[in-house]
Symmetry: C2
Subunit: 455 residues, 2 copies
C-alpha cells in the first residue's frame, strides 16, 4: 500500500482511539466499544492520559506510547486539542486518521483546519473533521458514535455510501438495516480537508465488494477532478447522487453545516447526467435506486410488464410507468394464450396483468415464467399483496427461481405491515429489491433503464 | 334510523354471514372469525345449508331461518348464487348487505348486478359486489377476509378511508396499523351498484369519530352529486383524494378492475380543487396527509420553522419548503436572542435551526417553546434523529407538552430503524404526526396549509 492509499481506513491492522471517555454514552466510548465488540480483527488501543483503562482495555497517555505500529487513528477530542493529537499521530507514523471532532470551518474556524493540514500533509491521510467517519460491513471498522441498540448497522452487501452529512448518512444506514438491506462501506466526509468524494469515488470504483455507489453532497470541492472521476467511475459502476442545498435558503444552511458553497442546481443536474450518473430527487430515491443497482440489475430496454394480485395497485403502477416515460410491454399473443390456458377465467391477462386477490404462488410462477420469457418484456414489476389470504411463503421460492432463470430484473412492490415486511426481507436476501409503493418501484425501474441506456 | 341510513352497516345489532366455509383460509371463514373474536358486540349468525356448525356456531340453512331480526348480511357466495341470497335477505327484512363476491360487471356480468339491484331496490342497501367491505375500529364490524396475523387492523383513530379498490385499501390499513396509526372506518366500495362514494362522504361528514377522510377512486359515478357533496363535506372536514387511472393504459386497466370509466385527469384535479379537497399525487401522500388532518392540525399561515439535530436534514427540508412554495419563517430577533442565551455557541439559531448532533431533549424544548411562541411562525417541522446518542425518550414528553401548550402544528421527521420507530409510535399516540423523510414531512405541511387557506 502506498501512503496515499485509502486502504488503511477500511482495513487497518491496528486502530488507536484517541480521547475515549469512561462514560458509556460519550462518543469516544461508543466508538471504542464498536471496535472491541463488533468483530473487528485488528489491534485496538485507547489513548487517554487521564484513564488507566476503559472497557477493560489498557489506556495509553499518547499515541506515541503504543508499543506497536498504528495504521488508523480515530480522534474524538475537543477541537482545540486536535492539532496536538494529529502531530503525535504523524510522529508515530500513523497512516490514516479520522477526525470526528466538530468545531472547525463549519463555525468559522478555518485556521484550525489549516493547522491540521500543514502538520499532516503528505504524511497521513485525513477524513474529517466534523464527521461520523466510517462503517465497513466487511472489516467492522465502525466509528459511528451512536450505540448499536439505537442505530442498527446494515449487514454485508454491495452498496457503498458516501455522505457529506454524517447524521443524514447514519439515519439512512439505520433504515437500511431495519429493512434487511446490506452495504459494503459507509463514509461520512464532513468538512473534507483531505479525503473527499473524488478520492472515495476512485477508491470505491476498484472495491470488489461495491457494485453501486450512493453519494449525498452539498457541493463538490474539486470541480474538474470530480467530473473526470465521475465519468470514469460510472462506466464501471452506477453512481446515484443526491444534491442538497438547491434553493437559496438551503444554500445558506449548507454554509453553516459543512462550510460548503452549494452552487447552481441546474449546473449540477446537467453535469451528473453528462457524466452518466443517476440523480436522485428525494432521500427515498437515493436509497431505493442504489439498492437495486447493488443487486446488479441491468434491463436491456424500457418495456415493463406489471403483474399484480390487487387491481388498484395495477392501475397505479400503469399510471406511473406512463408518467415516467417507460413503456408498458405488449405480451406476444402466444404468451397471453399460454398464460390464459393455465389461469382461472376471471384473471386479466394483459398489462397490468391482474392475477386477482385469490392468486397463490403457483399463479405468480406461471405469470412470471411466461412474461420473463417473452422477448417483448425487458423487466417486470410484481405487486405482491402477501397479506391476502391465499399466498404462502413459497412465493419467495418462486421469485428466487425466476430471478435465477432469467436475467431480466424483477422489482417487487409489497405494501403492508409486519407480515409483509417479514417476507420482503426474505426477498431482499435473495437479491430481489422490494418497495413500499408502486411509485417507488416504478421510479427504480426508470433509474435502471436510464443507467443501462447510458452505458 | 331510516331505511336509507348507512348506520346499519357500521353498527348492526346482528350480522348474518352467508356462505362461510369450514376451511380456515377461505374468505367466509375468516370473516366469521373476525366477528366472533374481535370484540363485535352484536349477534352473529353463520348461514350455510351444508354445515351444522362452523367455529362452534350453529349454522342456519337460510337467512330466513334465523329466529331473530338481522341488521346486516355479509354475502360470500359464488356469483351465481348471490341473487337468491339477496332475495332471501330482502324477505327476511335485512337492512344492509355487503356482497363480497366478485364475478360481476368487472368481468362483463352487468346483468347479475341489475338482477340484484331490482330485488333489493328501496328495501335494502348494498355495498359491493366485488369488495373487501368494511372495517370499523369502534364497533369491530370487520369483513376483511385476510386473517389478522397477516393483515393487521389499525386501532381506533379519526381517519376514515373510502377505497374503490379493496386490496389497495386493506394493504394501506395494514401499513397504518404497523405504524401505530388509528382509523375510524374503512369502506371498500368496489363495483358500487348502490352505496357509493357520495353516500359515504355524506355519512362520514356527520360521523363524530371521523375528522378527516381519505378517498381512493378510479372514477366517480354520479358527477353532479359528487361535486355538490364534496363541496359541502370539505367545509366540515378535510377530504384527501387519490385518483387512479390517469393515463391511457391505466384507464383500460380500470375497466377490468371495477368497471369504471376513468375520465380526464385534468378535469378531476380542477374539480377537487374547486371543491376544497386536497389531491394526493402518490399513495404515500394519501395516507400521510389524511393522518395529519385526522390529528386536527390547522396552521394559521404558511411560515415554517425547521428545527433539527442533523444539519443535512435541515438543508434538505429547507430545499423542500422553498420548492413546495411554503415560506421559511423568520424568527424575531428577540426569539433568536432568547434561544441563543440557552444554547451552546456552536448551535445554529436560524432557519433551519441546527441544534447539532449532541442535542438532548432539553435543547429541543427550548427551541420549540420559543419558536412556537414567535408570532412569525405558523408551524414547525422538527427533525429528530433519535438514534444520535444524547436524546432520550423524554423527547416524547417535550413534544407532547409543546403540542398541548401551543395550537400550532408540529410535524416530525424521524428517519431510522427499530429504535426510531418505537419512539415514532409514542409520538403518534400523542397526536404528533411523524414521517420517514423530509420530503414527506414538507408535503404534509403544504397540504395542511392549503386546506387551511381554502376553508
Amino acid at each position: 500500500m502506498s501512503k496515499r492509499d485509502l486502504e488503511y481506513f477500511f482495513n487497518p491492522r491496528s486502530v488507536a482511539i484517541i480521547g475515549p471517555s469512561r462514560f458509556p454514552r460519550k462518543f469516544g466510548y461508543v466508538i471504542l466499544e464498536n471496535f472491541l465488540t463488533s468483530g473487528f480483527k485488528g489491534e485496538v488501543y485507547p489513548v487517554n492520559p487521564k484513564a488507566d483503562e476503559i472497557l477493560m482495555k489498557k489506556c495509553y497517555a499518547s499515541v506515541k506510547d503504543i508499543p506497536k505500529s498504528v495504521d488508523l487513528a480515530v480522534i474524538v477530542l475537543p477541537a482545540q486539542k486536535v492539532s496536538q493529537a494529529v502531530k503525535e499521530c504523524v510522529e508515530k507514523g500513523v497512516k490514516a486518521c479520522i477526525i470526528i471532532s466538530g468545531g472547525f470551518s463549519e463555525i468559522g474556524n478555518k485556521k484550525g483546519e489549516e493547522e491540521i493540514l500543514s502538520i499532516a500533509k503528505e504524511k497521513m491521510r485525513i477524513i474529517g473533521p466534523n464527521v461520523f467517519g466510517i462503517y465497513d460491513a466487511y472489516t467492522n471498522v465502525d466509528t459511528i458514535f451512536a450505540p448499536r441498540y439505537r442505530l442498527e448497522r446494515p449487514k454485508k452487501g454491495h452498496m457503498a455510501f458516501i455522505s457529506q452529512s454524517g447524521a443524514f448518512g447514519t439515519a439512512l444506514l439505520d433504515t437500511l438495516a431495519s429493512y434487511g438491506i446490506g452495504i459494503s462501506k459507509f463514509i461520512s466526509i464532513g468538512n473534507r480537508i483531505d479525503v473527499d468524494e473524488v478520492d472515495l469515488l476512485e477508491y470505491l470504483a476498484k472495491d470488489k465488494e461495491t457494485r453501486a455507489i450512493a453519494l449525498y453532497i452539498e457541493g463538490v470541492k474539486r470541480g474538474k477532478e470530480f467530473v473526470k472521476t465521475l465519468k470514469s467511475v460510472t462506466k464501471r459502476k452506477p453512481v446515484v447522487i443526491y444534491k442538497a442545498g438547491k434553493t437559496k435558503k438551503a444554500k445558506e444552511a449548507v454554509k453553516s453545516h459543512t462550510a460548503t458553497i452549494a452552487g447552481d442546481e441546474r449546473i449540477y443536474s446537467a453535469v451528473f447526467k453528462q457524466c452518466g450518473a443517476i440523480e436522485a430527487n428525494t432521500v427515498e430515491e437515493l436509497m431505493d435506486f442504489t439498492k437495486a443497482f447493488s443487486y446488479g440489475l441491468h434491463p436491456k430496454g424500457d418495456r415493463v410488464q406489471i403483474i399484480t394480485n390487487g387491481g388498484g395497485f395495477g392501475v397505479i403502477t400503469a399510471d406511473e410507468v406512463e408518467k415516467r416515460g417507460l413503456k408498458l410491454a405488449e405480451l406476444s399473443s402466444r404468451t397471453i394464450e399460454e398464460i390464459k390456458k393455465r389461469m382461472p377465467p376471471y384473471a386479466v391477462i394483459s398489462n397490468p396483468m391482474d392475477l386477482i386477490g385469490d392468486a397463490n404462488a403457483e399463479r405468480y410462477k406461471i405469470a412470471l415464467d411466461f412474461a420473463l420469457k417473452d422477448k417483448n418484456v425487458d423487466l417486470v414489476i410484481t405487486i405482491i399483496l402477501i397479506q391476502l389470504s391465499l399466498i404462502e411463503s413459497d412465493i419467495i421460492d418462486v421469485l428466487a427461481e425466476m430471478k435465477k432463470k432469467y436475467e431480466k430484473p424483477i422489482i417487487v412492490c409489497a405494501t403492508g405491515g409486519e407480515f409483509t415486511m417479514m417476507h420482503r426481507k426474505m426477498l431482499e436476501k435473495n437479491g430481489i429489491p422490494t418497495y413500499d409503493t408502486p411509485e417507488r418501484a416504478v421510479a427504480v425501474a426508470k433509474a435502471l433503464v436510464d443507467y443501462a441506456s447510458m452505458h
